[in-house]
Amino acid sequence: MTLFWQILIDGFAISSLYALGATGFALIFGVSGVLNLSHGALMVAAVVAAWAAGDQLHVGPYAGAAIGVVIGFIASLVTYFLIVRPLQQSQKIREEEKEIFILTATLLWGIMLQELIAYLYTNNAKTVAPIVQGVVSIAGVRTPSNEIFTAIVCWLVIAVLWLLVNRTRAGKAVLAASMNPRGVTLLGIELSQVYIAVWAIYGVLVGIAGVLLGMFLGVSSYSVGPLTASAFSIVVLGGLGSVSGALIAAYVVGYLETLTAYLISPAYRTIPALLLLVAVMYVRPRGLLGRR
């Protein structure tokens, strides 16, 4: 019985984290049609920044976390202005080839960041000083408070994002752009500004997700690839461009992994999720809630 609660609780925490990470990824794809393969690198950058702030500037956990988020934010905008936008506006590249170019370029960019991080701070795993310490007992399961904190923050952020998108004019514009960019332009809204806004939001999400991950599990520069892949697969599983789909998929994957880790072996943790992904892509290529 405790095992059941064990799985339920751990699964929830990790899934929430996945959800937050994937939401941003889904958002920029939905709105600007970009699959950002430097996703994982941006998250790791945020973690390492938060860690370094604590380790070297000796700031408190709160300041550390804040710095991590800021770095995530900056990194995201740099990615957009340095990599994505030039390619989108390039005259030299044929339209039908831009997708592959953006994929390749962001992939490259991600690896550059990975190398840089490894160079500056070695590729040993880094963990961010947790904001909340200690453990509490839920249904007889000794649970780190940090785990609960992680889940709560994830959901707060997702909720705020939801409100932002559904309850504000600017947010509505973003949502509209994801459904029909041309329509947005015809209503006198500058798409370019919408894109910048989205990448800014994405940066904050990545920053927060990264810092939480750093507090919860910790990451190393090796995590860059796996983090991108997991976000990518969750988003595809949920349906490219569908944020709600991504949320659901995040929990499917999160629990699948936790179940595997507990019931079979931690070594096989990621495999069932990958198999599921492949299966879904055969049966229903547009994902669980895919629009396109």
Partner: protein, 308 residues
């Protein structure tokens, strides 16, 4: 005139190959070692270019094919020590099977979705290698008892001529009728079908050919290094290097891929003084090429001919 220029290019390439085949006389063993690796990378990249540049399939998992070849050969040698050529053949064969497996989704799902399936394929292989450490040597690597030879010169010549032959075959193929049909299918499958071409058949063939050369090269390289590791054959970073080599060399040119590969290896060597930063700089350079010269080296050199 097409065929004329094809043979011409092949002749020039052949001349270049013969020229560099004399390097062992003047160049140190270490440089030869570097070039040996560069040549195998060249084959990986050429095989990738056949898939992407011609069949139009965005394959993020070149290392899935390469790794399958390398590890199959390596494990086989580790377990039973059969003759090396047998291990290599087995590697190539396994890669071909891998190619077919990879092709199945490609014929169903498109664009980023297929890109992801290939990515997943790599992760699966990586998982397998790490999890079955007793068989594969885990995440650090598999030690292969036998080597083809320890002579740098011989290894170099093997790699060089293997690359030359594969290159010639792939290049000729890309310029052959089949290559044309592949390009047509990659560019507009509907139209190709309406012209009476069985797109599925041709794409499958492209996957098999690409896989064959990737696997063969992977197996040979594994025996050259007498070790196989995730970090050398499977890791996504390696896959990216292969793609970069092909892209900066010039997509749809096959031979450009070799230039790209040599460039990458040469750079990381010339930048050795930078220490750990060298990789970073190399990737930065590649990024600049991607951003500013989408045509790649080959594209730059043949710009005059390519007005479209």
């Amino acid at each position: 005139m097409q065929s004329a220029s094809t043979t011409r290019i092949l002749l020039i390439a052949l001349a270049a190959v013969i020229a560099v085949s004399f390097l062992p006389l003047g160049v140190s063993g270490y440089i030869l070692g570097l070039l040996t690796v560069a040549y195998y990378f060249g084959v990986f990249a050429m095989a990738w270019d056949l898939l992407f540049g011609f069949a139009g399939e965005v394959n993020f998992g070149p290392t899935f094919l390469v790794g399958t070849g390398a590890y199959t050969a390596g494990i086989l040698d580790n377990l039973y020590q059969p003759p090396i050529w047998l291990c290599v053949a087995a590697g190539a064969l396994a890669a071909v099977l891998g190619g077919v497996v990879l092709a199945l989704p490609a014929l169903r799902v498109r664009g980023p979705y297929f890109g992801l399936t290939t990515l997943v394929a790599v992760l699966m292989l990586q998982n397998f290698v790490v999890v079955d450490a007793h068989l594969t040597g885990g995440e650090i690597g598999l030690t292969i008892p036998d080597v083809i030879t320890i002579s740098d010169a011989v290894n170099y010549e093997i790699a060089l001529w293997f690359m030359a032959v594969s290159g010639a075959i792939l290049f000729a193929l890309s310029r052959s009728p089949v290559g044309l049909i592949l390009q047509a299918s990659g560019q507009d499958a509907v139209q190709a079908g309406a012209l009476g071409f069985n797109v599925t058949k041709h794409k499958l063939a492209a996957f098999i050919i690409s896989a064959f050369f990737s696997g063969l090269a992977g197996a040979l390289m594994a025996f050259y290094l007498s070790s196989a590791s995730v970090g050398t054959f499977i890791d996504i970073t390696v896959g990216v290097q292969i793609i970069i080599a092909a892209v900066i060399g010039g997509r749809r040119t096959i031979l450009g891929a070799v230039l790209g590969a040599v460039f990458l290896i040469a750079m990381s060597e010339l930048l050795r003084p930078l220490g750990d930063l060298s990789n970073f700089v190399v990737f930065a350079m590649a990024l600049v090429v991607v951003l500013l010269f989408p045509g790649g080296f080959f594209g730059l050199l043949t710009r005059s001919k390519e007005s479209g």
